[in-house]
């Protein structure tokens, strides 16, 4: 990045404090996820029966659970799982959905119709139920859960990219490229695809929150990651049975992690859309 770009970036950050705050939150979560295991002395899986159900303290900032595991260490590990699975789901979903949208928008006709009806049918399913059914059908576990969530997110990309492609295809510069003798492959790759990237990125940021929450929901009902892996949804389930006996910290902290990650990315997605959209001010939230 050149110095000029850097200064422009700093200016945007100063002018949009909520953007700065959400970037900061994501950065902190990422640091905890990546460096937490090296910097924090407790192991997320280490059982310590002399320190069960300790409330938050200096030694254990988020307390300990029913078998004395340090919740802060588990929180950090959970951040790594949630964020990395969220990123993986969003990237694969964007690639698959983007491809379907691109093919649909360029081909038109019967293929377009068939693909879009398929997307509609997937959308008519309750997404969480579909993700659960796929996860169970494919044998459970973190990978199948991620696949199930990815599948339910594909239609959102596909429909958006399709309408984007149809819009871009009719713009004068595409016609100009055709007149200049560019072949279909060149037009698609050099002229249409680059113009869908910003839409795709913004949609991906918006769906990141959905992916993270859906993964936690699958973990919560016992699909996806299995005990004792400290995934945030699984941790909330574990906390549930202690919530009504006074040990609130077990289930509450992982939820804050989810809330922070999802809220920060949704603010980020909106802000970036506002900054990219020349008309600006759209739904400034």
């Amino acid at each position: 990045m050149r110095a000029g770009n850097l200064r422009a970036f700093a200016k945007i950050l100063r002018a949009n404090l909520d953007l700065t705050a959400s970037l900061l939150i994501l950065l902190i979560l990422a640091i905890l996820a990546v460096f937490g295991p090296f910097l924090w002395p407790y192991d997320p899986l280490a059982i310590s029966l002399r320190e069960t159900l300790q409330p938050p303290s200096l030694a254990h900032p988020m307390g300990t659970d029913h078998i004395g595991r340090d919740i802060f260490a588990r929180f950090n590990e959970g951040a790594l799982i949630s964020l990395s699975v969220g990123v993986a789901v969003v990237i694969t979903g964007a690639v698959v959905g983007g491809m379907i949208g691109l093919v649909s928008g360029i081909s038109g006709g019967l293929l377009d119709n068939a693909l879009m009806r398929l997307m509609d049918a997937i959308l008519a399913f309750p997404p969480l139920i579909l993700a659960m059914a796929v996860t169970v059908g494919l044998g459970g576990g973190l990978e199948t859960a991620a696949f199930g969530i990815m599948l339910t997110s594909v239609p959102y990309y596909a429909r958006l990219i399709r309408s984007d492609v149809i819009r871009i295809r009719q713009l004068p510069f595409v016609e100009a490229a055709e007149t200049a003798g560019a072949g279909p492959a060149r037009i698609i790759l050099r002229h249409i695809v680059p113009h869908t990237v910003s839409t795709l990125l913004i949609q991906a940021a918006a769906l990141f929150g959905y992916s993270v929450l859906a993964l936690a929901a699958l973990g919560f009902v016992g699909l996806g990651t299995q005990v004792p892996t400290p995934e945030w949804g699984v941790m909330i389930t574990e906390g549930l049975q202690y919530a009504l006996t006074g040990q609130w910290w077990i289930g509450v902290f992982p939820g804050f992690g989810l809330l922070a990650a999802v809220a920060a990315t949704s603010i980020l997605a909106d802000k970036v859309r506002d900054l990219v959209d020349p008309r600006g001010q759209y739904a400034q939230l």
């Binding site: 008519a124 309750p126 929901a217 549930l240 509450v252 939820g255 603010i267």
Partner: protein, 335 residues
């Protein structure tokens, strides 16, 4: 108008059939033999074959679908081998509690969104606006099952204002005679206000937990639309005619800002049924959501299939109703 409604309803029927076909194919494609799950892993090959014939699994896929869908329309929704009950009986027992919870969650989300959407835009106070926006982001970022847990910890365990999970009505109160299956409505029909108040008391926390996400979404949408509309010239004209701020909002800005919110509301209301799954689990709510999750975990796909068709029906018809409502709210799209 009538013609539009009829063609819309016909389109809805086609969509429901599409969803039923996909649900059917999808559950057949999944690995694992449903008959094997019924007879158990130790049963002989003959017993497996006999069970497959009893379940119609030896037929071709189109024949199987035909059998299923004609049966479905005649009230034979299949048999849940996990629960040992016909699926229709399970649904009849469980669906009312879920629809009632979804209804109150939606009511909470919708009313809170209108009130706070207005508060955020009414006098353009930046502090109120920022608070509403923050609430909306939090509402959309919270896992509903986690919010359910927080609400239980704070309002049940710490403060003791609201009852805990497990019941829909206090044991000391006589349940109203069943008419609709919805406890609050039945209580009103019977004129039993004590039972009504008690049922609302039990519904409140789960409804808020379930309604928070749709609330966040609706208030965000309504706020953005209200801002757009109030910047339009006709609002200036209305104001310059000497119409008060309240009347400008209630008669002119709000109806105009309502169309996108209404679209979203229809989709949200229809989705609440599927979304209630996790909140029901936390509150031990005897609804369809907990049944479906248990059925998925048991691979009891007869229940899942019926649930998918029922939620597609609800989804499609709620949206059709919303389309008809457009015409009533907005004269421009009446034709």
């Amino acid at each position: 108008m009538m013609q539009a409604v009829v063609s819309r309803l016909f389109g809805s029927l086609v969509a429901v059939f599409g969803a039923s076909i996909i649900a059917f194919l999808f559950l057949r494609v999944l690995p694992g033999n449903p008959a094997r799950l019924v007879v158990g892993p130790l049963a002989s090959e003959e017993a497996l074959q006999a069970q497959m014939e009893r379940m119609g699994l030896h037929l071709s896929l189109p024949d199987q679908y035909w059998r299923y869908i004609t049966g479905f329309l005649q009230g034979d929704w299949g048999f849940s081998y996990g629960a040992g009950q016909p699926v229709l009986v399970q649904f009849a027992n469980r669906l009312p509690a879920s629809i009632e919870l979804g209804f109150y969650a939606f009511l909470f989300a919708f009313l809170a969104a209108v009130v706070l959407g207005l508060a955020a835009t009414y006098r353009r106070r930046p502090a109120v606006d920022a608070a509403v926006r923050a609430l909306s982001v939090f509402g959309m970022g919270m896992p509903p099952f986690w919010l359910a847990l927080i609400l239980l910890v704070v309002f049940h365990e710490a403060l003791g204002i609201f009852p805990g999970p497990g019941l829909q009505l206090s044991r000391s109160i006589e349940p109203p005679p069943v008419v609709t299956g919805f406890i609050t409505f039945d209580a009103l029909i019977a004129g039993d206000l004590t039972a009504f108040a008690d049922a609302i008391h039990y519904l409140f926390l789960p409804a808020v937990a379930l309604g928070m996400l749709p609330f966040g979404y609706l208030v965000r949408l309504l706020r953005a639309n209200l801002l757009d509309v109030t910047n339009e010239p006709f609002i200036l004209v209305v104001r310059s005619k000497g119409i008060g701020l309240w009347k400008t909002f209630s008669r002119h800005a709000l109806p105009n800002a309502f169309i996108p919110t209404l679209t979203a509301s229809g989709m949200i209301f229809a989705q609440l049924l599927g979304g209630s799954v996790l909140v029901e689990k936390v509150f031990n709510w005897p609804g369809i959501g907990s049944l479906v999750v248990d059925s998925i975990l048991r691979k009891d796909f007869a229940v899942v299939q019926a649930f998918i068709i029922v939620s597609a029906v609800i989804y499609v018809f709620v949206n059709a109703i919303v389309d008809v409502l457009y015409g009533i709210i907005d004269p421009r799209i009446r034709n």
